[in-house]
């Protein structure tokens, strides 16, 4: 399977048609329809009934469809969530490997019954408590459906740590470090970002989003996501390599090919060292840029088609 492109994604309450019905216009790489914390208890049943509607809405913009379930009710939520078109089930507040194995078994059975290719529905395990951080390795390695890992930050985590967020210094060095190291150890996509001071906690801060996304891209990270439509475009842009970077990567590759031909392992290209590591970075960047371009084309084609269909109807 090609590497998924998940630069931007909005999490939204699935019971709110205002959000769901407009979700396809947001240009998100993925949409995370929520059955969990943004849905009040009294609406959980209704929310479960809305999954198939949300899939249709989200697919109008070619976003990858994710469903966030409640960690307390996997048996009720998973059958409501796993339908053709759903790419990933997000499991919040993951604390043990057993939870993930149970989720995996539920999904496996539903794939069989509902005619979904076996093993294609991914699991996104989100660590949001200190116990989850402590058990990160067993969580991340509990199912082959998990292809990305990281995190250990956010509001729930702060509550469990007894801290106030947005106080101007990095409070999650350990949590993020554990998550990314485990992702690297298991060969998973690293989820996470570069710390940047934020003392407002404004979830719709486009300016900070672009800075953070660019810094993350330059640090080698590839994924994003958020709560507010304002951050989608900055993340799409910030996590996509620039034209100059791609050109530069091609130069690095040809420079390295020449080196290699001469039986050398390292050389100086305009004051920069080029070796097999720089070559590998360049190759990754070129591949990533082309995946991003492909993803962008898919999304705009889908949106254009949807707009055309709507025009026809009117």
């Amino acid at each position: 399977m090609p590497r998924p492109v998940r630069r931007s994604g909005l999490t939204m309450p699935i019971n709110n048609p205002r959000f769901v019905d407009r979700s396809w216009t947001r240009d998100c790489d993925y949409l995370n329809f929520d059955l969990e914390d943004s849905v009040p208890q009294s609406q959980k049943d209704y929310a479960r009934s809305q999954v198939r509607h949300a899939i249709v809405q989200g697919q109008k913009g070619a976003a990858e469809i994710n469903i966030r379930i409640n960690c307390a009710y996997p048996d009720a939520d998973v059958p409501a969530a796993v339908w053709p078109g759903v790419k990933q089930i997000n499991f919040p507040k993951a604390e043990t490997g057993a939870q993930i194995r149970h989720l995996d078994a539920l999904i496996t059975e539903l794939e069989r019954v509902r005619g979904i290719r076996s093993g294609t529905v991914r699991i996104g395990a989100t660590v949001e408590t200190t116990l989850g951080v402590a058990n990160s390795y067993e969580i991340a390695s509990a199912s082959p459906r998990i292809d990305a890992f990281g995190g250990g930050t956010g509001y729930d985590m702060s509550m469990d740590m007894g801290i106030e967020m947005f106080v101007g210094f990095d409070q999650f060095v350990y949590n993020r470090g554990e998550g990314e190291l485990i992702a690297l150890a298991l060969g998973l996509e690293r989820e996470g970002g570069v710390y940047m001071s934020d003392t407002t906690g404004n979830v719709g801060n486009a300016e900070l989003s672009i800075k953070r996304a660019e810094a993350s891209r330059k640090a080698g990270l590839r994924t994003g996501g958020g709560l507010h439509p304002n951050v989608v475009a900055p993340q799409n842009l910030g996590l996509t390599p620039t034209v100059n970077e791609v050109e530069d990567a091609h130069r690095v590759l040809s420079f390295f090919a020449e080196l290699d031909q001469r039986g050398e392992t390292e050389g100086d290209m305009d004051g920069r060292i080029v070796d097999k590591y720089e070559a590998a970075r360049a190759e990754e960047l070129i591949e990533w840029a082309s995946l991003c371009a492909h993803r962008d084309a898919e999304k705009s084609a889908a949106r254009e088609q949807t707009v055309a269909e709507l025009d026809e109807q009117n």
Binding site: P13, N15, N16, E36, D37, S38, V39, P40, Q41, S42, Q43, T129, T130, L131, V133, A134, N135, G154, Y155, D156, S158, M159, D160, M161, G162, I163, E164, V167, F169, Q171, F172, V173, Y174, N175, G177, E178, T200, G201, N202, V203, G204, L227
Partner: protein, 312 residues
């Protein structure tokens, strides 16, 4: 373990009688009677003989009293310390679960022998080695007596070959690991921000407050206070911020209104903030902690009142 409020642990050398006798006057949530750092054998036995009386002084203001024994002489020191009024011991330099299990069994034996209810004495695990940091999970889960754990930063420096400087924090990883593993085990992590963990200062009240607040925002629930000047600052910093209480109450009110209307994502008027379950939960947790802190203050005030009435 039941949730408790222990924001300040005032450290007092047992041989410094004046400090011991006034230890109850600083409004510390806890007082730790220190038996370490005593060089001569004579002084050591004198210190031991003073513990029982020292506990009486230290708990007069309602503080939870702990004793910090020498690691090498733990048994003798603990035997000299287990008397009514003692809340527990500090275990210095814990490295493995076996260390804690050994202390646990000494405490059990003494509880039985000295008519103290079984299992009430607690253990604060102090870590001063890479081994202890690495093994923190087995340490904090070794016994239900373990109530708190934290770094003994200066001894950790010594044991790891680190020279402490104010502008470099060598324990970002170690503190993160202590906070995460300790809280995951439902035990309280204690500590303060760099550089006060290695280079404490006592004269700038505001800076002490800032350091303690930063400690809280790293995930610590309280700190060991090497000097009485830290106590009031820690009591304030490790409690929820008083100026946010109104905000927390309003958050809870708005959210419950929203839920009644069928939404669990409620905008907070005048801000870009959305209240959802974790935001509401955070408000609830803070308000509860505020109540607990108020109750602890009332307890201590009552103890002081009792003191004054008996003195009068």
């Amino acid at each position: 373990m039941k949730v408790f409020v222990r924001r300040s642990h005032l450290l007092v050398p047992v041989l410094d009688r004046e400090k011991v006798e006034t230890s109850w006057t600083h409004n510390a949530d806890s007082v730790i009677l220190d038996l370490t750092g005593i060089e001569s054998e004579d002084d050591r036995s004198r210190a031991r003989s003073l513990v029982k009386e020292s506990i009486r002084h230290a708990c007069r203001g309602g503080a939870d009293v702990f004793v910090l024994p020498n690691k090498a002489l733990a048994r003798a020191d603990i035997e000299a310390s287990v008397y009514p009024g003692l809340k527990g011991i500090v275990y210095p330099g814990a490295e493995t679960s076996a260390d804690i299990e050994e202390a646990d069994s000494i405490l059990s034996e003494l509880e039985t022998g000295r008519g103290i209810a079984s299992g009430v004495l607690q253990i604060i695990a102090l870590i001063d080695s890479g081994t202890g940091v690495w093994n923190i999970r087995e340490i904090v889960t070794a016994s239900p007596r373990v109530c708190s754990s934290g770094l003994d930063e200066l001894n950790l420096c010594r044991n790891m070959g680190i020279i402490p400087y104010a502008d470099f924090d060598p324990f970002v990883y170690a503190k993160g690991r202590i906070v995460v593993e300790t809280r995951a085990a439902k035990v309280q992590p204690i500590g303060i921000s760099h550089p006060y963990g290695v280079l404490p200062q006592f004269d700038d009240a505001d800076e002490i407050y800032q350091q303690a607040l930063r400690g809280k925002n790293l995930g610590f629930a309280g700190a060991i206070c090497p000097d009485p000047s830290w106590v009031a600052q820690c009591n304030t910093a490790f409690a929820p911020p008083a100026d946010r209480l109104e905000f927390f109450r309003e958050t809870r009110r708005l959210f419950s209104e929203g839920v009644a209307r069928g939404t669990a994502a409620v905008p907070y008027p005048g801000t870009t903030m959305m209240i959802d379950v974790p935001v509401d939960e955070n408000a609830r947790v803070n308000l509860e902690l505020w109540e607990l802190c108020a109750a602890r203050e009332a307890e201590k005030a009552k103890a002081i009142e009792k003191q004054e009435s008996t003195m009068a």
